[in-house]
Subunit: 233 residues, 2 copies
């Protein structure tokens, strides 16, 4: 077990303090989220938590949760109490980029349905400015792809069709992803609003104003970022 893995486990334990018995929890994806799932399974087995059900955000997470013995349910109409997920970049306002793993749209449906959305990651994901290192993933219909890419480019980014091993990548929803590299003048809220209006866009990886708290595992321990915004009712 590496030192960073120890800290990721610390982040997972801190995030799970937001979970109460008898609730439904959104289960995110990524390496730190995997620690959350393992630790939640342990707490259920050991009786520290009871009657917690999970909503998985990807097929990979579903497999991990089943292996950890967490009962799974479909996303309830009234949402979930807490959702815990990783991210690819997070800034000081707890705005984040997600989706390098490809489950962005399902992750956002669950995060938006959570009364408390908790981010977990290692400290390398902390950035000064969103888009500094990662592109913004945009999930789009294959129909009209060239046109949609052109309209995204007109918003000031450089969209590149995601491939894996030279094959066009497909999401769990069978769509394609345009990874949009952005410049120093990137304005996340302006870009997000414009992208949401574009026909052919299924979802995008900007999670703005959604997280209440982020636990980041670092070489010198766990750091906690809190949002100044209130938790959703």
């Amino acid at each position: 077990v590496s030192e960073l893995d120890e800290f990721k486990a610390d982040a997972a334990r801190a995030a799970l303090e937001h979970v109460r018995s008898g609730t439904v929890v959104g289960l995110g994806s990524g390496s730190t989220a995997a620690f959350v799932i393992t630790e939640l399974g342990r707490r259920l087995r050991d009786g520290e938590l009871r009657d917690v059900r999970g909503v998985p955000t990807s097929s990979g997470t579903e497999r991990l949760a089943v292996a950890a013995g967490i009962p799974l349910v479909a996303l309830p109409a009234d949402g979930v109490d807490v959702a815990i997920d990783g991210m690819d970049e997070v800034d000081g306002a707890l705005d984040a980029i997600k989706g390098l793993g490809g489950a962005l749209t399902r992750e956002k449906i669950v995060a938006a349905a959570a009364r408390t959305f908790v981010l977990v990651a290692d400290h390398t994901k902390r950035v000064r400015r969103l888009g500094e290192r990662c592109p913004v993933p945009v999930e789009v219909l294959e129909f009209g792809l060239e046109r949609t890419a052109s309209r995204l480019a007109a918003l000031g980014c450089r969209p590149v069709l995601r491939r894996r091993d030279d094959v066009v990548y497909r999401t769990d929803n069978a769509h394609v992803v345009l990874d949009c590299a952005v410049g120093e003048d990137f304005e996340p809220a302006v870009f997000a609003a414009a992208v949401e209006r574009l026909p052919g866009v299924v979802g995008h990886g900007l999670f703005l104003g959604m997280a209440s708290v982020a636990y980041l595992a670092g070489a010198d321990g766990l750091s906690t970022l809190r949002s100044s915004r209130a938790e959703r009712p």
Copy 2:
């Protein structure tokens, strides 16, 4: 041939006056759009138009266009010159509801890519107020369906999952449709903006500020509605 069919053919001929040789045309769906496809095929065969290629918005339209001998292409990055499509409701400002046929998202991608968007229909589609007779179709991911329906209901509509012969209906994109009945206080622009922000929504059937002209076939001939807005550059 019924009298209404004669008038639909009139509407199709009027719409095709917007099409020039050497251009790419968006081909819509529906019974009046079918007249457009047949008439475009005839004009190409008879040499009245040359080198026109079509972008079909549904698999049904693709079949009709192939049968009519219209060469087809994928939607170009720089859009299309003209798109011609039917609608389910249109008001005096040329705002429309589309999507009872299920191809709403592809139709909107093509309409939004057109420098001139032309509506054709029979006169029964003209309404005073959008939502008067038709629900607003919203195409959504099946993942999180109950939650998405609940969030749509919170916007003031009554969403009903579309079925055909007791089987859940699926779009060409393999998603489901929530048909959202709205009340007399319906505000299309407010609803559209809120729906576009909802995670899990793929597209919706409100076509606002998109059409330049509508040709409506009626019992007493053809009526033409023109938008006060300029055509897109």
